[in-house]
């Protein structure tokens, strides 16, 4: 049940409080998200047809999800015809077992990995380790997280909470234990740090026989898999080994090759703020003279069909993991990714995790409240996921599940955290935005009315008083040094 939860993670309010105390983390985050926000804005403003692309992206995803069974079957047929093998996993445990088994079949004891949210979600590395298989993360940020024995805190840049000085220390301390050590005179120049990672991973790439990857898109019509990346570690993993195992959530499929033109324009600009990321690889099955001789595609459900069964919540499966919503979120910027207790942090995590994992745990019940409903996430989302709408919808569900209790305690605390965030200089703007969102929801009452839990209940929930004992901001003032 805890497959996707960081074990021992405190629920959002407690974790958020801890993160708020850490001024280094807040400084690192604010700097990084500030940089990426302006880069994204510039990249998007260049693209005159941005709103049309967003609408097309949303519509393609809607079409896919409403006919998901058909597209998965088509994908399976095409991948198989091109020499690949398709596996299906109902849950995380099954997915882990399939991947571990496939690696064991090759007789190899190590694999190189390229960034994949879903393998983190299913806890693959631990399962590989239990089977005596070393898994080397090759994405620079993943490497930093792995060497630092840390948790990822951002979708695109899992080590966003680390600054260059910390990265230098981690490299100096830990690289030697896993292979080529960092040079003794390593300084914190990002160029030198990248160079150290290049040298550290090079021998691993050149000798690797098995790679495990995620995918960004799977094209049903052609059986083509797509990986979007920057560093070239993806190309190394996809090209040099003899066996490639790609793990993908079932929502990664898109109908046609033409549909890819929409996402290859939306994703880089939303994600890194580039016109195009340095490398995009596409491959269809296997080829005798180029790349891996064996290709396995593992399609994972692990709660996705649960999300799919909710006509309002379904839209979160549109997500292309660009992380734009994290970078604009005032709550995320203050509390960081770890507070969300999941590999999916920020606004998308707040709406995705409770749907994938259910709302049984305190963490997952609190997540829909980890937001001030300012609406900035919806505005930047390249596939137009109405995150505020889903948050409100999930809050209603949490309240229903709470049977009688208007707002359960951890949820109140999460709201207090979110409230504290907007009660700062940005308060007015944020409140105005929240008002706009509410107006939007009311205006579409017909749709909201179908939610389990009436709108009035939501209004009550939203205006529920801050817990009396100590407000978040009072706590903040008291504990702030």
């Amino acid at each position: 049940m805890n497959d996707a939860t960081f074990l021992g993670m405190p629920a959002f309010p407690a974790a958020a409080a801890g993160a708020l105390r850490d001024s280094q983390l807040r400084g690192n985050l604010a700097r990084a998200t500030g940089t990426i926000r302006s880069r994204r804005a510039a990249a998007v403003s260049e693209q005159d047809d941005w709103e049309h692309l967003r609408e097309a992206g949303r519509a393609v995803k809607e079409r896919t999800l409403r006919h998901l069974d058909r597209y998965l079957l088509q994908l399976e047929e095409k991948v198989t015809a091109a020499g690949g093998t398709v596996h299906w996993a109902r849950d995380a445990e099954e997915a882990r077992r399939i991947v571990v088994g496939l690696v064991q079949d090759t007789g190899e004891r190590e694999v190189v990995k390229v960034k994949s949210m879903v393998t983190q979600e299913i806890g693959l590395n631990d399962a590989l380790a239990d089977a005596g298989i070393d898994a080397y993360e090759t994405d620079l940020a993943e490497l930093i997280v792995q060497l630092g024995q840390d948790h990822p805190s951002h979708i695109l840049v899992p080590a966003i909470h680390r600054n260059r000085a910390e990265i230098r220390e981690i490299f100096l301390r830990s690289m030697g234990a896993y292979g080529t050590a960092a040079p003794a005179d390593l300084n914190d120049d990002p160029r030198r740090l990248a160079e150290a990672a290049r040298r550290h991973l090079r021998e691993k790439f050149l000798r690797a026989k098995v790679a495990v990857s995620g995918v960004n898109f799977l094209v049903a019509e052609t059986g083509t898999a797509v990986v979007v990346e920057s560093e070239g570690n993806g190309r190394m993993c996809l090209t040099l080994p003899e066996t490639l195992i790609s793990v993908a959530g079932i929502e990664k499929v898109i109908p046609t090759w033409q549909d890819l033109e929409v996402f290859l324009q939306l994703l880089p600009r939303s994600s890194t703020g580039e016109r195009m990321n340095p490398y995009t690889s596409t491959w269809t099955g296997t080829r005798a003279d180029d790349g891996p001789r064996a290709f396995h595609l593992v399609l994972v459900d692990a709660g996705r069909t649960e999300a799919l069964s909710d006509p309002v919540g379904r839209q979160v499966l549109n997500c292309i993991r660009c992380s734009a919503c994290l970078n604009v979120c005032p709550v995320y910027e203050r509390v960081g990714g770890h507070a969300y207790g999941s590999v999916y942090p920020g606004p998308i995590g707040a709406v995705l995790s409770p749907q994938l994992r259910g709302t049984a745990s305190e963490v997952d019940r609190a997540l829909p409240y980890a937001s001030s409903l300012c609406g900035a996430c919806y505005e930047v989302c390249p596939v137009k996921i109405d995150i505020p709408e889903v948050l409100v919808h999930l809050r209603a569900r949490v309240v229903e599940d709470g049977r009688g209790r208007l707002v359960p305690k951890p949820e109140r605390l999460a709201m207090a955290a979110a409230r504290w965030v907007i009660s700062r200089p940005a308060r007015l703007t944020a409140a105005q935005r929240a008002g706009a969102v509410a107006a939007r929801l009311v205006a579409r009452r017909g749709r909201v009315g179908r939610l389990p839990g009436p709108l009035s209940r939501w209004t009550d929930t939203r205006d529920a008083p801050v817990p009396p004992a100590e407000t978040f901001s009072a706590w903040w003032k008291r504990t702030r040094r």
């Binding site: 690192n28 299906w88 099954e94 600054n163 090209t239």
Partner: protein, 223 residues
């Protein structure tokens, strides 16, 4: 693969598909995928026209912005300019894939040229100083070069392991937009879209060039 593992997997397939169908109970049985409208009002490209001077200029500008060096050369000068460029790259063998145009290849120092026939082991690619290839297409707006493993481009490892990648692009291959390029490319081939040298934004979200892929990308555009 053992029977032990295969059996439950078959069940998993059926069960996941069943779950999906149950989850989509609100979708009318008569609805077809094409009944869900996908408005494609975004630009499909076409301006500047493929191969035009404006398209080439835009490609050059965008590639340069991402840290690639760009050389615009005339057809007559192409061979000699390529020869000089590669000669100036520093030591080490230069990998040249099968099918690379002989008129361009002839200007490269024959003592340095390594051909991928039979396939070079990866350690040898690692010792190479550079690789010289053609491309399948180029996208001006995004500063992208696309390789599809066709003649003159070689298998993917060739353009990945050596630290310098020199690409020769013909003006007529330069299209304005992503949709135009995707329509012209063949998905059955393994495709690599290259937009500048390898880079990372993983350290404080600042772009740093040069991680695992070639750290130097040079484009010779023949106009």
């Amino acid at each position: 693969m053992t029977i032990r593992r295969k059996e439950p997997e078959m069940n998993a397939r059926t069960e996941v598909l069943d779950r999906i169908r149950r989850a989509l109970a609100d979708v009318p049985a008569s609805e077809r995928p094409q009944d869900v409208p996908v408005p494609r009002r975004y630009s499909h490209g076409g301006a500047p026209p493929t191969g035009s001077a404006a398209a080439v200029e835009l490609l050059a500008e965008r590639l340069a912005e991402y840290g690639a060096s760009v050389h615009l050369v005339s057809t007559q000068d192409a061979a000699s300019r390529l020869g000089r460029l590669v000669a100036g790259l520093g030591p080490g063998p230069v990998v040249v894939p099968r099918g690379f145009p002989p008129e361009w290849r002839s200007t490269l120092d024959p003592d340095r040229v390594l051909t991928d026939v039979p396939a070079l082991p990866v350690a040898e690619l690692d010792r190479a100083g550079a690789v010289v290839t053609t491309v399948a297409a180029a996208i001006a707006t995004t500063g992208t070069l696309v390789l599809d493993g066709g003649p003159g481009q070689g298998r993917r490892a060739l353009t990945l392991v050596p630290d310098v990648h020199v690409c020769v692009v013909r003006a007529r291959q330069v299209m304005a937009s992503v949709p135009e390029a995707l329509a012209a490319l063949r998905p059955a081939r393994p495709l690599t879209f290259v937009s500048g040298p390898s880079a990372t934004s993983d350290i404080e979200l600042d772009r740093v060039e040069g991680v695992h892929g070639p750290r130097t990308l040079a484009a010779v555009v023949v106009t």
